[in-house]
Amino acid sequence: MSLTGITAYLRPQTLEEAYSCLGSGALAVAGGTDVLRHTHVGVHTLVDLRSLPLRYVRDEHGFAVGANATLTDLLEHPGLAAHLDGVVAGMLRAVGSPLLRNAATIGGHLARRRHSDIVPVLLALDAGVTLYEGSERTLPLAGFYAEATGRSRALITEVQIPPAGKDTAAAFLKFSRTVFDFALLNCAVLVRRNGDGRVDHCRIVVGETPALGASVPAAEDALRGTGFDDASIAAAAEAAVAAVAFGGDQRAAADYRQALCRVAVRRCLEEARRRLEERRR
């Protein structure tokens, strides 16, 4: 829906300029797919960030993804599409439609802080994010969501996905009414096994609880150090169910989400284990 009450549309060319444009009454816009779907009280200026030279996906010791890369750019990058058995690409194919993915950017998606299948996967992969607030700083994506509020003027400039070795696998699963609806609940995991088969690092992220995805330390503690057998997978799933505060909304009731969580964590871990075992053959 065209927005009313907008009196200016700015196209800053540099980060400094963009940051200085984002005063009161100004709203940053990237792909526009989220901004145009809502009304914005008190906003009179739109600041289009797409003139900033941030549209790239680079294969460099992991991946560096500029904030203006569209979701399609990520999906069509051969290296990223193949990374960790295609966990990122598989997830992206279930985010919106091709029409939305051609417009929506990764920076805009992460900045809106709600309804995300992307955030759980990036958290599981221990992604980092670079912000600009007068100067640039890089921090873990988990820290970004923990520390900042929606009112921050910080601009996301880049997302980093670290490299992963052959001893590491990841998996993602979402439950939703149709493939590209917002998830009723989603889950992403990453597991690294050491030489004797024990889990020496893992991330278990549960999202749309209905809160934005977050790692569940109790579930990770339950899995770490185990031989990654069925019993330890079940224990991790139970630990997640016990630790997450589920809520109900128009999409699903809290107890339904709780039931989905147990299944989602188990299936994701089983899939990660299957991928690791396939690699050994």
Partner: protein, 156 residues
């Protein structure tokens, strides 16, 4: 504010409202193939090509098209001769009420530009964001596959 864009191959300079969507602008300029189905990014009836990629025109600011190429269904026919995809859609009965057809055609063009030899499953995935309110999906998929073959100049 003023906007310069390339619409269906022609340079245009138009006056827009800074908060206006590309869909509202295109309809105002007479491109009525750009349908307002939901104005919310679900239905795909307003799909157009922006620099060659299919997007929901309702979820793109008109101002974001500055200096870019915008292609709508109106630009496909050449001197009254339909684009092969348009003709095959008609020939194979892939059009029921026709409301979703322009959006499906533009989305399919994006697909065929990148993947001239799509499988049925790839066509279906590409059309995931294009709703047909007559629920006629089989024939559009068949038509897009047939048009792809014709555009590759191969007998089906």
């Amino acid at each position: 504010m003023n906007l310069d864009l390339v619409l269906n191959g022609a340079r245009r300079s138009v006056e827009i409202d800074p908060g206006e969507s590309l869909m509202d602008l295109l309809r105002r300029l007479g491109c009525k193939s750009v349908k307002n189905g939901c104005d919310d990014g679900y239905c795909g009836a307003c799909a157009v090509l922006l620099d060659g990629r299919a997007v929901n025109a309702c979820l793109v600011f008109a101002a974001a098209a500055a200096g870019r190429r915008v292609d709508t269904l109106e630009g496909l026919a050449r001197e009254g001769v339909l684009h092969p995809l348009q003709r095959v859609m008609l020939d194979l009965g892939a059009v029921q009420c026709g409301f979703c057809t322009p959006g499906m055609v533009m989305t399919a063009l994006d697909l065929l530009e990148r993947n001239p030899r799509p499988t049925e499953s790839e066509v279906r995935r590409a059309l995931a964001g294009n709703y047909c309110r007559c629920t006629g999906y089989v024939k559009p998929v068949e038509a897009i596959l047939a048009a792809a073959a014709e555009m590759r100049e191969e007998p089906e």
